[in-house]
Amino acid sequence: APPGKPTLTSCRSPEKETFTCWWEPGSDGGLPTTHALYYRKENSETVYECPDYKTAGENSCFFSKNDTSIWVNYNITVVATNVLGRTFSDPVDIDVVYIVMPNPPEEVRVSVTQNTDWPFLRVSWEPPKKADTRSGWITLIYEVRIQLENEDEWEVHPAGQQKVFNIFSPRSGGTYQVQVRCKPDHGFWSEWSPSTYVKVPEYF
């Protein structure tokens, strides 16, 4: 049989400068099947093939800076081909500015600060390296969450645009797990950063 219908599952840009689209193949009908991604930009009739199938791994297409424009719709289709025929995915229309999801914040550090009577936790981090927050090209806000060892609940704290956040009244002798995530002003939350741990000294 001709190949099953492929599905474009998602397109994401980590920094408003490049983007990647992923697809899921349909059934292969027992025959060798190849997939190709084609796109057409708004107000142009020219159809291009995916510029880079390798960088983002299997079943994906990576658009480098040179291949990425914003404020322009990309009409994207995946085509599955075997010896018996071709099957097209449903087309997807995307504008890169609406699919921004950054990488998680980096260099997350937690320290116990004790310059008052009671210690507090000081969490600091850096924006993901790829995101150019310096120029203002992307603006990120952050969320910090902490969890006391052996408890199920996370405590979530919005941190705004700050890259440091203090958490007061930590439990004496407790071990905390801390994670940070970020979101562009208009876009999707990143994954949480890998956990950083801190042990609060006994202070009673």
Binding site: K16, E17, E42, N43, K65, T68, S69, I70, W71, V72, N73, D93, D95, V97, D132, T133, R134, S135, G136, W137, T139, Q161, Q162, K163, D185, H186
Partner: protein, 186 residues
């Protein structure tokens, strides 16, 4: 100037969020009616304005020219926002009252943003005060039947969503240039 730009970008941020909510609100009740089958019915009335379309280009544009682009885009939406606002009242859509009040809110933000930028561009010199005229020639009537009206309304909103994102992006680049000495903001 850093302070003024900070306040300006808070407004532009809000404008873009509102226009995003509006497009989502339209689509929740009536998923893009035939908008898929139809070619994009027209180009946005602002599409003749040359704007950067990636970071590399945007960061090469001078402060004055970015300000001029922002003010041109804002001006270009004054008339269409009136049309959207008038049409929203009788829009054949179950969320028309919420849509209508969001459009009014957008108009207010747009107006005070424009006023703020008049002052700001005055401080920046003549090149920042220059604007391009981008008249809306689509007429004040969105159509007769429900599908046409909803399509035209939705299309205008999708243009507004894009343009408000441009405005917001350019202002945030300007803000970071102005606050270079407070790196905690950018």
């Amino acid at each position: 100037i850093g302070d003024l730009l900070d306040r300006a970008s808070q407004r532009s941020d809000k404008m873009h969020s509102l226009s995003t909510q509006l497009t989502q609100e339209m689509d929740t009740h009536f998923p893009p009616y035939g908008r898929m089958q139809m070619q994009r019915p027209a180009e946005c009335h602002t599409s003749t304005l040359q704007t950067p379309n990636d970071k590399e280009q945007a960061l090469q544009v001078s402060n004055s020219d970015l300000m001029s682009l922002v003010r041109s885009l804002l001006q270009a939406w004054v008339d269409p926002l009136v049309i959207l606002s008038n049409s929203a009242i009788t829009l054949p859509h179950p969320a028309k009252s919420s849509i209508s009040s969001k459009i009014q809110e957008l108009q207010e933000h747009s107006k005070s943003l424009a006023d703020g930028l008049d002052i700001l561009s005055g401080k920046m010199g003549p090149a920042a005060q220059a604007t391009s005229s981008l008249p809306y020639t689509g007429g004040t009537d969105l159509g007769q039947d429900r599908v046409t009206i909803l399509n035209k309304f939705g299309f205008l909103l999708s243009c507004l969503r894009r343009d408000s994102h441009k405005i917001d992006s350019f202002l945030k680049v300007l803000r970071c240039r102005a606050v270079k000495l407070q790196p905690e903001l950018c």
